[in-house]
Point group: C3
Chain length 436, copies 3
């Protein structure tokens, strides 16, 4: 089902504006509720402005015999994004000024765009340049660049608290697989999973944006609210390829997002690496800017720029797999369940250890115990010892080298017995009151 | 002499209450003064209560031919600790419900107890189970479980200051060698050594307790006083076996106890490892609980749970040696002498270096020097350079990679010359005034 | 030219006072302006006092046949520094009490002195002791030890700010090459280089002192001023020998000096090691004493005490090279240029990234870029991302693994575009106003 969805989304000509975005959001909206919001050309967002809306119907280059040497219908990567309308006969020299290739990757169509400067261009395989031997060519670009709108998709699940987890992905790239279709696909599966869960502690927000300008627009309208509400969050991208996971930390580097993601990766037993935040990535560049410093990391597999096919036609279906996508979904779910389970407790018996056997929490007689019994006793005893009102369950799990969410049930048991007191609850109620 | 003492103590049937404890303390009291204190059954200590007093005279299981298959007289480990009185004929099935073995260690009698739930039981080698082929057995347990007292032993040496070093060991295990007899033996030898010392800076307290309930009782009566007085301390246990030392840190992990013990182990040149505090150990679980957070570490050799014979009849004389016990005594003495030597100084000449030659502390002319001279000059020069009123002698010794107590004499020399000022003294006088 | 200078300075008989110092400063003063200051015998500096002035004209030991066995004219190391005048016949036994050798380095004349206790002595190769077979010897020391002056050389370059970089070297050793002539030579070349620079941000002070007593004297007169003015500084010594650089940190260990020097060494690609401050070195012992804690490190090659020829006649021209000296000069210049370039900026656009293409700072269209373009774009983007008003250019360069001073031009460009604000300027103006 995931790959069917992929196959429907892949051929659509997405850009930062235009009907490709709307169509993609409609298809994903069959799976999860996505509200489309439209923002007019010219809307200011900090140092930036929403550009004109762009749509393309047809585009080709014909030689003097009338053969189509390049055709947008074959691959939407052939047309440079935001190419202005053009129709005319051009010399070989003039054409070559508008032809983009990747000499280092000669069988790939490069992905190019010129959002903020009006221009036109075609992208082809470098190996095909020798075909362009004629003196003159007919160029047709039947596109439209005019005042219109930019589209942003948004989903939301209300939890017990107004504190929220923010997932953000982008929908502005034409036919490429790792970057970007793996992002919206994985985010949508995570969203669908959470829709089925009851008793969520956090609220969840899912953004589907045109990269950069979309997150800037959203921050310009909701940034202050996000600063108050976002407890953790991730930019979902590059989630379909490679054996190893990559976690890019938030700019602060020690946020709850970072702690939970790194903890889960470590406990997963799967290969992974952690990289520091840097300003060469996706929307975490905006979310983590000094004015917002949102706790936004990015949990990826092989990341942008680290595979040779990046930003070319070679980043296609053959590079990704349903298995890898689903494993990424599971990793996000594990991180989210860890965040849901995570609480900070304070042991109510501070003078020596509380007596556990009289509460049925410890066997009266020593002896041979099952492994499950041993784990339960270990969890209970450690939770009592290390719940000091500061260390949360993830901190304690790190110390014990166990999965944080596995401490949830023993913690709740001890809370029922009055041995642990949840020191988060008050804050959460306060926040809820604050946000009504 | 140490092994003679061991041989007198080993056969005694100790438990958390009863005459075995009293008899053991009397024997140790021949070496050092130990005051026995009695606490009534029912005395509350935080979440716990002192249980009934238990004593056992005789206990056996006979088969239908009247042969004693199990006899307490052979090993006090055969009778489960705190077994209630019982006398009667039982079926094979009923007997087996009360028989405890260790299938993973088939030639060992396991150590079992049921302090807080009335029950009876016998412990035998797993290999001997096939001997129990009869249909019925005669069981006799001539024990006594009734209101009485729990006994705690305490020794004390008054030093110049009321700040104290606390050593604590436990005397509640029947015939086992590493855990526990090595503990009381090593503590007693350290106590004896300190009795001969004059001019002790710290006071010294030595507790001989039933594990857990004993330290809880002591803390419930003297915990607040200990919080004000204890500068450093150690739970003395598992000190007779293994090539390598183990230091278990206090819960805070950076106390004076931890600093001194790790420093001495490092300088000793002997193999050692350091482990973090955790709630699976001995009385440091109580001493380090959040309400007290006493600076109690534990300096051991091979520790509980890390040798297969732990808590069985195989933990016997063959595993320990007088040499290992005495080496542990020496390590404790070195730690204590390091604490005694440790002071914090401030150099009185802060503008450049003081001139040492005019005070006879440095040769006027360079030239060939003996190693001892070089060490003395190095110590004097470093003490002047690094005594900033914050770094103590252990800190400076760590920086110089020398034994902390070796800096004591050069420091006193510099103090006599007025070049160092001891910044601890005022605090110590204050404390003494406070405690009168 | 550097080795010519070396050859003129080498034979001079320097000590902590006397004409040798004055003559050496005059020779260096041909290259750079050095003001000589004179301080009277008896001037107090903290715990020390300026000693009498010492000069030596002639000194020898003759055997009974009138042969000169030792002659100051052959090497000024033969005469112990500060030897008092003496003329007379002495027995072999008495002579040997005044003869110093190095049995561990039998072909070396040791370097000896007795500044603060009146005495006389000669130093010779240990191998030559068998030549002293006569019963009596004629000893002549035509020296002068009387009230006079101690000489200190000082240079200064006024920069835009009164904050200053302090370089300090010593000129009190007789004929030795690594320790000490490499120090004054390298410092003088750095001084000469800076004299040619315009628009220096910092002021620069260059001290040429007799070791220890000279820095104590200077601190006693100008220490409080230095505390207010010195932003960074280095003791220049042992700069002419060895493949590897050595950086000895300031006592605080995290000063701007330490940060800049270690950063430059790391980026240089040359072998180096970093050692902690300790009280066995040169004038950083005084500069870093608790009363001043100046940020003085020491950037050396093979350091004092780490080569066997140290403080003997074997520390001569053969050990050093013009190439090594000039490489040291370049390393100091790199450190200084890094300090000059280092500023702290704050990005003025904190809400998302500023739009760079509309300012000509980023290409409108993606595509193939030169390495220089990539580096420029990377620098600009990183500076915007990491300039948070706290991280300075060295911090950012460390993060990016590039040379700090290479970030200067991109930072100035961004400052011109109003995207970065220099947060140091105000402080610097304030300081300048303060010092008027």
């Amino acid at each position: 089902m995931l790959m069917d969805l992929f196959d429907r989304l892949f051929p659509i000509n997405r850009s930062i504006t235009g009907d490709g975005v709307r169509q993609s959001l409609r298809i994903l909206g069959e799976i999860v509720p996505i509200r489309q919001r439209e923002y007019s050309t010219g809307t200011e967002c900090f140092d930036w402005t929403v550009p004109k809306e762009w749509n393309a119907r047809e585009a080709y280059v014909k030689d003097s015999q009338g053969r189509k040497l390049i055709d947008f219908a074959d691959s939407n990567l052939h047309l440079m994004g935001y190419s202005v309308p053009f129709r005319g006969s051009v010399s070989r020299e003039e054409l070559l000024e508008h032809l983009h290739t990747r000499p280092d990757l000669p069988n790939a169509i490069p992905y190019m765009m010129s959002y903020y400067k009006e221009n036109w261009g075609f992208c082809i395989e470098h190996d095909r340049l020798p075909e362009f031997t004629d003196e003159r060519y007919e160029v047709v670009i039947d596109s439209e660049l005019k005042d219109g709108h930019m589209t942003i998709g948004e989903g939301f699940i209300q939890g017990a608290s107004d504190e929220e987890i923010l997932l953000s992905t982008y929908v502005c790239h034409p036919s490429m697989a790792i970057n970007e279709l793996s992002g919206p696909l994985v985010q949508t599966m995570v969203y669908r999973y959470l829709l089925q869960k009851k008793d969520l502690k956090y609220s969840y927000r899912f953004l589907y944006l045109p990269e950069t300008i979309g997150s800037l627009l959203y921050l310009s309208q909701h940034g202050e609210e996000l600063k108050r509400r976002v407890a953790a969050g991730f930019v979902v991208t590059c989630a379909g390829h490679g054996e190893s996971f990559t976690y890019k930390k938030s700019k602060r580097g020690d946020t709850l997002s970072d702690k939970a993601a790194i903890h889960v990766l470590k406990q997963s037993g799967k290969p992974y690496k952690v990289v520091d935040w840097n300003p060469f990535g996706s929307d975490e560049r905006q979310y983590c800017s000094e004015g917002f410093k949102l706790p936004m990391g990015s949990l990826m597999r092989t990341m942008y720029g680290e595979y040779p096919e990046y930003h070319t036609s070679l980043d296609n279906r053959s590079l990704i797999s349903e298995e890898a996508l689903l494993e990424s979904v599971q990793m996000y779910v594990d991180v989210i369940e860890t965040l849901e389970a995570n609480e900070t407790y304070e042991c109510t018996h501070v003078h020596g250890e509380p007596k556990l056997d009289k509460r049925g929490l410890y066997p009266y007689t020593g002896g041979n115990r099952t492994d499950a019994e041993k784990r339960r006793i270990a969890a209970v005893t450690n939770l009592i010892a290390f719940s000091d009102g500061f260390a949360d369950l993830i901190d304690i799990a790190e110390k014990l080298n166990v999965m944080g969410k596995d401490l949830r049930d023993p913690a709740l048991l001890l809370e029922q017995h009055g041995l642990l007191r949840n020191v988060n609850v008050v804050d959460r109620l306060d926040l809820a009151a604050h946000w009504g």
